[in-house]
């Protein structure tokens, strides 16, 4: 560890870091703009200037950029020398020449890095007398608002969007003081990660458009530590609320999981929480089929009455918390409980959970994935099934360039230099999939195979690695690339709903695990708590079809829209005459409609729970605000039902922590659940952690439009967080960080004050706890691959996932629905040509007794005999992955216009809205 001197102060610094990092690590306030901990240095803004001295006798020194200067033993610097402070002020003064000074109407105001830095350098008076340059803004789609006049040309947006996230449609144009950051033409930003621009831009050029429609200042938001429920990656988020509405979602740093970035589903997909389709009251179905709203107590009494002495079964949900699922299972007994997976999903999830518990391969965190130097993507379009992981994979392929840089003695953070050196040399990424994936652009090789063949191809790779001669040269090649790598990664998952693919992936990964070497194996799974549900189900899980057969008298369905998993016929059978169905969920859906009683559940933003992500990490989310009306978190509904029915063990439980303790006690696989976050008794120096900021304003007045009496702040009896601005938000355990703020650092850049060191874990550690530790006995099973017999003019149906559209809840957000577009059938160019269709035409897909006319999408590469269908879309819901279909042109097809649900929406006045009315 080198020693350096800053203003005479002796500092021990980390080897290989730069002076800016060293200063920030030492707690010094050195302003910066263009540098970003995840993206390194380019030295363009010139804000992080210090004076460097040759030696002790040098009194003049010279200006250097902190972010571009590596630490060296004995080097001497000054932060406070007059020429340094004067220089830094001059930089801000020139950045502000053309700035519109429109903070009062800017969405960034109050959390603006430019504001912070301006204050930090002490800039006050403008001397510039010229006209300001102005720019025309672009329409960038429903998610991102563009306001170029505020730009300070730090290049962060371009570097993030192009270099980091692999986007191609946003960048720098023109030059000198006319630089422009935008698209070639107006239009939707294509990247699935565009939302991070909001946090990457140090001022208000790129802002959160849905948030603008219902805007509040950062300091007026009430926030809580939360976990994204958009997929199984489990990114940490910080949602913010005001006036009873979820206003926006910001990234919440987790060193091992999402780091600084989210995908757009995670950032923008929570609008459904404010949806008018939310249930507000419990309802009991009347004879005419409509629902009668009833109070909680009445609903509970009726439910208890229905259940008394009856054969009761229950269906849980992979998108509900561990705790809720646990309670539901206890309530009806394991033999009457189905985890809520479809039959195929149940089998896949049982094997994934089995694999994670026994594999010899390393089950990596996202951070570890970024270290991979050769990647085999096996049958998964990761960008659309586990988006944040795909963003990590885009960093892994850069390891080749870091290797080259190291040979030249270039530090990784010298971002532009490393890129210039490596040009387009990337670490190998091999993609084997049925169709295009959104990582094809960084892949060294893409192989298109039907699902069955993917599985077989995997067997060939394993054989090739074992040294058995195979005639498959591609398999030989891939085997060799993987075997040459120091840190290979195999990534696969359940999205093809094909056991053989996963099995082959495991076999490949495990054959790479020798005495000295190891391989990472990462498996993508469908939902935010799929792994949690699989762990709970263990081997005894009741397949959903058994439950259908068992014909229960009373059925409890929790947070699960069964029509996504059952055929119409099964639905009918399950929910028909003989069964009284009680459903617990948030949004209107076909399952609720078919139920006899509905109970309004709280969303993730209004409740507390634990989710187990794809790597087996359990993480806790906390309520951001209290549920409105008669909504209640599922776990509370279930405790109350237990009490009302006099359940033996459950009726003794009262608090969330009791449930956690019980679950941990009764299920060895959940050992560690309690460590996911501190319990209700936790206090930091005697205080709770505030959900509101120091500057939270208008508390007395904000509800005056409804009631002039200031309501009492709610008490949180379940967690260490308070609905208050009192308390301490610093250095607490990482799982309890509701927002980041530090004096002088109002923007999200204040994160560095919470990190143990630049880009390191938070001071309070890393949130979450690995539940699954593999026994490393090995999980490879003998393959029993089958091939589907194909008739001419038949196609195999392959599910095609979309970040926007395939996920059940987020698509109830206007912006996401707009981006999801229409459901589609995806064809290769050759097939399309034969059929006589082009993109946007219609084709009729018939499979079994289902026949749907769908919009045609043309893909670049499609495996022989395969066609894709939009997974998770209503119109295509009934299609089974892997089944056969016929295809004809729809001659009567009328081309569809895009649905501009969000873009055309008028802005509701948040002050007047009083929340949705009872929808029952």
């Amino acid at each position: 560890m080198p020693t350096i001197f800053i203003d005479g102060q002796e500092l021990q610094v980390n080897d290989g870091e730069n002076i800016l990092e060293a200063c920030l690590n030492a707690g010094m306030d050195l302003p910066y703009f263009c540098w970003h901990p995840a993206m390194g240095s380019i030295g363009s803004c010139r804000q992080c200037a210090l004076v460097q001295y040759q030696n002790e006798d040098d009194t003049r020194g010279r200006i250097i950029m902190g972010c571009m200067t590596p630490v060296t033993e004995g080097a001497r610097f000054s932060l406070n020398a007059e020429n340094a402070t004067e220089f830094r002020e001059a930089v801000v003064e020139s950045l502000m020449l053309n700035h519109p000074h429109d903070c009062p109407v800017c969405a960034e105001g109050g959390e603006c890095h430019l504001q912070d830095m301006t204050v930090m350098v002490g800039h006050r008076d403008r001397r510039y007398t010229g006209k300001k340059n102005t720019y025309r803004n672009q329409y960038l789609g429903p998610l991102i608002h563009h306001e170029m006049n505020r730009c300070i040309t730090c290049y962060r947006c371009e570097r993030y969007y192009k270099d980091y996230a692999g986007g191609t449609d946003l960048g720098a144009q023109a030059s000198h003081d006319h630089l422009y950051f935008g698209r070639h033409e107006e239009g939707l930003l294509e990247s699935e990660f565009s939302g991070n621009l909001v946090e990457v831009c140090p001022t208000g050029v790129f802002t959160d458009k849905p948030f603008l429609k219902q805007y509040s200042r950062k300091w007026d938001l009430q926030s809580a530590p939360s976990i994204c429920t958009g997929c199984a990656v489990g990114c940490n988020i910080a949602p913010g609320e005001r006036y009873g509405n979820l206003k926006r979602v910001h990234n919440r740093y987790n060193h091992d999981v999402n780091g600084y970035f989210l995908c757009d589903r995670g950032r923008f997909g929570s609008g459904y929480v404010n949806s008018e389709a939310r249930l507000d009251y419990a309802g009991i179905k009347k004879s005419d089929g409509s629902f009668m709203a009833v109070h909680q107590q009445q609903a509970l009494d009726t439910a208890a009455n229905w259940m008394q002495g009856k054969k009761v079964a229950a269906i849980g949900s992979p998108r509900a918390s561990v705790e809720s699922n646990y309670l539901l299972r206890e309530l009806v007994g394991a033999e009457n409980f189905a985890a809520g997976f479809s039959d195929t999903e149940a089998k896949l999830m049982a094997s994934v959970s089995q694999i994670l518990q026994t594999t010899k391969a390393v089950n990596p965190s996202i951070k570890q994935i970024e270290a991979a130097d050769a990647i085999l993507v096996f049958g998964e379009d990761v960008t659309n099934t586990a988006p944040r992981v795909a963003l990590a994979l885009r960093q892994s392929v850069r390891n080749k360039s870091f290797e080259l840089a190291e040979q030249m003695g270039l530090p990784q953070w010298q971002d532009a230099a490393v890129r210039n050196l490596a040009q387009d040399q990337l670490s190998p990424m091999l993609i084997v999939s049925a169709m295009d994936t959104r990582l094809d652009d960084v892949a060294s090789q893409c192989i298109s195979l039907a699902p069955d063949q993917i599985a077989e191809f995997g067997v060939a790779i394993v054989e090739a690695m074992a040294g058995e001669p195979t005639s498959n040269t591609q398999a030989n090649e891939i085997a060799q690339i993987l075997q040459c790598a120091k840190n290979p990664l195999v990534i696969s998952g359940t999205s093809m709903q094909h056991w053989g693919i996963i099995n082959s992936a495991v076999a490949i990964a495990e054959s790479l695990c020798g005495k000295k070497s190891s391989c990472m194996l990462s498996l993508c799974v469908p939902e935010s708590n799929s792994i949690g549900s699989a762990l709970l189900a263990g081997d005894m899980s009741q397949p959903l079809s058994h439950l259908v057969e068992s014909a229960p008298e009373v059925l409890l369905v929790m947070e699960n829209d069964l029509h996504r998993r059952l055929s119409a016929q099964q639905m009918q059978q399950l929910m028909g005459e003989g069964t009284q169905v009680i459903s617990l969920d948030m949004l209107e859906n076909p399952t609720l409609g078919a139920s006899d009683m509905v109970l309004p559940a709280a969303s993730y933003a209004e409740s507390q729970g634990s989710l187990v992500n794809m790597e087996g990490r359990v993480q806790r989310y906390f309520p951001v605000f209290q549920p409105a009306n008669e909504r209640m978190p599922s776990w509370q509904w279930l405790l109350k039902i237990a009490a009302a029915t006099g359940h033996k063990s459950l009726s003794k439980l009262e608090h969330f922590d009791d449930v956690v303790a019980a679950c941990e006690k009764n299920h060895a696989q959940f050992d560690g659940l309690a460590i996911a976050a501190p319990d209700n008794s936790f206090r930091d120096r005697g205080l709770k952690i505030p959900r509101q900021t120091h500057r939270y304003s208008g508390r007395t007045a904000m509800n005056a439009g409804v009631n002039v009496h200031e309501p009492q702040q709610p008490h949180d009896t379940e967690s260490p967080l308070a609905y208050s601005m009192e308390g301490l938000n610093r250095d607490q355990p990482a799982s309890l960080t509701p927002y980041v703020w530090s004096p002088g650092w109002n923007s999200n850049q204040s994160l560095q004050k919470f990190q143990s060191e630049v880009d390191g874990p938070l001071k309070g550690g890393t949130a979450g706890q690995r539940l699954i530790i593999s026994t490393a006995k090995g999980a490879t099973k003998k393959s029993e691959n089958s091939t589907t017999d194909m008739q001419p003019h038949q196609w195999q149906l392959v599910p095609v996932y979309r970040v926007h559209g395939s996920e059940e809840l987020s698509v109830n957000t206007d912006e996401i629905a707009e981006l999801a577009g229409h459901s589609f059938v995806a064809l290769g160019e050759v097939v399309a040509e034969k059929l006589g269709v082009v993109e946007g035409d219609g084709a009729i897909v018939a499979s079994g007794d289902i026949e749907v006319s769908l919009e045609v999408k043309i893909l670049q590469r499609v495996a022989k005999n395969c066609i894709g269908f939009a997974a998770g879309y209503t119109e295509t819901m009934a299609f089974q992955a892997g089944s056969l279909a016929s295809l004809t042109k729809d001659k009567k097809w009328q081309r569809r216009e895009p649905q501009l649900i969000a873009s055309d929406k008028t802005i509701p006045d948040p002050m007047i809205s009083t929340g949705g009315s009872a929808r029952v």
Binding site: T168, G171, Q173, R183, H184
Partner: protein, 172 residues
Amino acid sequence: MSKKEMIQSDIGSVLSAQEIAEIDAELAHIPYKSGAAIDALKIVQAKRGWVSDECLQGIAKYLEMSAEELEGVATFYNLIYRRPVGEKVILFCDSVSCWIGGCDDIKSKISNVLGVDYGETTADSSYTLLPVPCLGACDRAPVMMVGDDLVTHLDDKKITELFGSAANGSAK
């Protein structure tokens, strides 16, 4: 059809066969396709005077880069025109030696005669007037380029010879 053929036929309507052949000649000695971005822009502009959106998209596709990326390149350089220009571009040197030599007055004279300021094209589309950094002929200042020709030792007389005078209307 191969992918390459597809792209060719796709943009065939935009880029001419000769343009494509010239771009291919550049590509022959450049390790990455996008490396020929500037050459390709210049090739297309040489034929058409300027680079339209359509051409830009065509080139981008041919070079397998995004239109955005090519736009960033095209808008960086002084000699790539993203708006239509006249038959001839007047590159008028306004740098220091020409300035000392009185180029401001000559510029006024040209503007007067042609009825255009910097960045503008004459009504009959004959000329577009643009400023250019030092043309490296300072010993013969003031100078300008009209189309491909360097015109040196500019004075009122020369301007009249070249463009006529304001009295007899705008340019030939």
